[in-house]
Point group: C2
Chain length 390, copies 2
């Protein structure tokens, strides 16, 4: 997907940050970070694996399961020598652990007394992984480097943005499909199936990849709980549905959420919808390089506060490449105390849902920071969509 | 999905195992285990959350993110008092961690000096989680209880098996869809889209849930790497494709893999296919309660060795309820040294793929151990399917 030059540039930037963090070796377990640095792209993150960078060596190592090594050879930019694998007896065993193997490899390469960065809070780097590393490398000094590579990823290149633009087309088509199909008497899972079909099929020009989260589409009183998926229930007249879905190409995501009503929406739902829309407009109008993530949150909070509303959760986060279970990048969040400064070609999901005890309204925009303002990836009507009852 | 009685029974069995393990408190982070014990079902495992059991208290606690608490109230069997949530400022923060909050809750409840089981190698229990628990509960004694709940899950009830039977119907339909659609000139992603549509739409009688792994469908030389997903490439004459997919209902999975050829398959592929089929038949004929997981592996190895083949990876594993990224249960594996004894109503994915440097053949069966032999969940022709070229 990317040129070897782009991968080398990403590795160089990461090594620069390793020097700043004071680590000589970096063990990368987050699949998004592994793919970003090497191109490795497979559904193998349910077994332990890692990409390992050294400040003083050109190529990183990929270490994983034997049956996945060939996939690493096929999808990464490195020489086959840099692909190392452990035998299957290490897989989900109670007597051997893949990190024992990785510690051995590092020891043999003379890294046993080095300062080693590990992604302490990455999804697949378990407590057991660190325990085995401590045991296998008793003289190494481990430092938490959870966000190190994520922060290298935060400003996107032209190619990355082009994939996100394609993902944006996909998510618009998928949301339209949801609007078209959701109706009284239709099962939730049938709408989920159609959304997913559109996400993966893409269009004539390009196909879609799997998204890091499945469609989240709570209906009725479930809309108060944004992360419920779907059931086999049939929609009823008066149901409010919130759809939070994404488009994805080559692992790059553009998420979007919208809220619809089967039949005329109640006045208070429409009102909340208008407040959210006004808040988004006001926030987008002020976003530009130089302001902070906290500023973004404040603009939003001030705008909705004029109408007597507040939102207690963050109103957005950085997006880009990702693997399940999350399409967030785990760097910048729009919330109090996040003083990160916006820069051109950062990309975000502006996610200002408002949830009450019994219902919720979710309307969002994925955006790119430009030289002086903001670009919306999608242009999809933000109003609460009211499906006409036939 | 299940009665309160079934949940209470599951909790009682788990508490019994806690006594055997010597822990008074159990922090459950694995989403499959959380759902098994409480019914909690949402795509929220990308933030830290836990279900906590106490040997001397009836109900477990659910502790998670504020916006997910309502979903826990809606989907679990416990009283609302047992649902506790942390504020959003704990989410993906570098200064606060959800485990700080959980440690506090446990300390306040007088558990600060107890023996506490934690799932050290569960997917979402990161190294950071344990670090924060150690810090927040310095006088507690932590023990690794990674497989504790998984082992409670290993024998299925009638209701669980009925969901797996439904999942079996779905995976048969999805595989048939793959066979029907895959053809020369068709894009891989369009076949993936159709498979996924069938998986989620299900049939008229019941719908499907998302599967814990997306369709894995390497084609051509990619078949040597079983965990590659799909590309936007168009299939070519002579392509060998291996499909590994599952059906899923209410989080219960039945996986299946098959291999197809676009046009006449080469002789050596057909030969490997026959060896795999014979190996499966021979293995199924001998499987019954009382034999060990290692025995199963030996029957398989002996059969294919007669033809000069060997498989270096495990040839199957226990299945049931699961969440991404894996539909394996992480208990029993069919491989040397696994002396677990088969019992009625254990369920497995018998997964004897054979991979070479340049291609692979994967043909599998999901099965249930009966009182005296084995039941196949699916009945789908095991031959290498050769698509006629039009």
């Amino acid at each position: 997907m990317f040129s070897t030059e782009e991968y080398v540039m990403r590795n160089d930037k990461t090594k620069q940050k390793m020097l700043e963090y004071g680590v000589e070796v970096l063990v990368v377990s987050n699949p998004s970070n592994m793919c970003y640095l090497t191109g490795y792209n497979a559904w193998s993150f349910y077994v332990h694996q890692a990409v390992i960078l050294f400040v003083d060596e050109e190529e990183p190592l990929w270490i994983g399961r034997g049956m996945d090594a060939r996939g690493a050879e096929l999808t990464t930019w490195m020489k086959n020598d840099s692909i190392i694998y452990y035998p299957d007896e290490y897989v989900q065993s109670t007597i051997r652990h893949p990190m024992d193997f990785i510690a051995q490899v590092l020891n043999r390469r003379g890294k046993g007394r080095k300062k080693i960065g590990v992604e302490m809070d990455a999804f697949y780097y378990t407590a057991k992984c660190q325990e085995r590393m401590n045991y296998g490398m008793p003289n190494a000094e481990f430092k938490d480097a959870s966000g190190l590579v994520n922060w290298v990823r935060v400003i996107k290149t032209e190619t990355e943005i082009s994939y996100m633009r394609n993902a944006a087309q996909i998510v618009e088509d998928a949301m339209q499909k949801a609007y078209d199909l959701a109706d009284i008497g239709v099962r939730e899972n049938d709408v989920a199936a159609a959304i997913t079909h559109t996400q993966i099929s893409g269009n004539e020009e390009f196909g879609g990849d799997y998204t890091s989260m499945v469609p989240m589409m709570p209906a009725g009183r479930h809309t108060a709980s944004p992360h419920l998926t779907w059931t086999e229930e049939r929609y009823k007249e008066g149901d409010i549905i919130t759809f939070e879905i994404a488009g994805c190409q080559h692992r790059y995501h553009v998420p979007m959420a919208r809220t619809m009503s089967l039949g005329k929406a109640p006045e208070f739902v429409l009102e909340v919808g208008k407040v959210v829309d006004e808040g988004i407009n006001e926030t987008l109008r002020h976003m530009k390089p130089g302001i902070t993530a906290e500023d973004v949150n404040n603009i939003w909070s001030d705008t909705i506060a004029r109408h007597g509303y507040e939102k207690k959760s963050r109103i957005g986060y950085s997006i880009g490449m990702s693997y399940p279970p999350d399409w967030g990048e785990h760097t910048i969040s729009f919330r109090p105390d996040d003083r990160s400064i916006l820069e051109p070609n950062m990309t975000f999901h502006l996610m200002p849902g408002i949830w009450f005890e019994d219902f919720g309204v979710s309307i969002t925009e994925s955006i790119r920071i430009t030289e002086d303002s903001v670009e919306q990836f999608t242009s999809f009507d933000r109003k609460i969509f009211e499906k006409e009852i036939r």
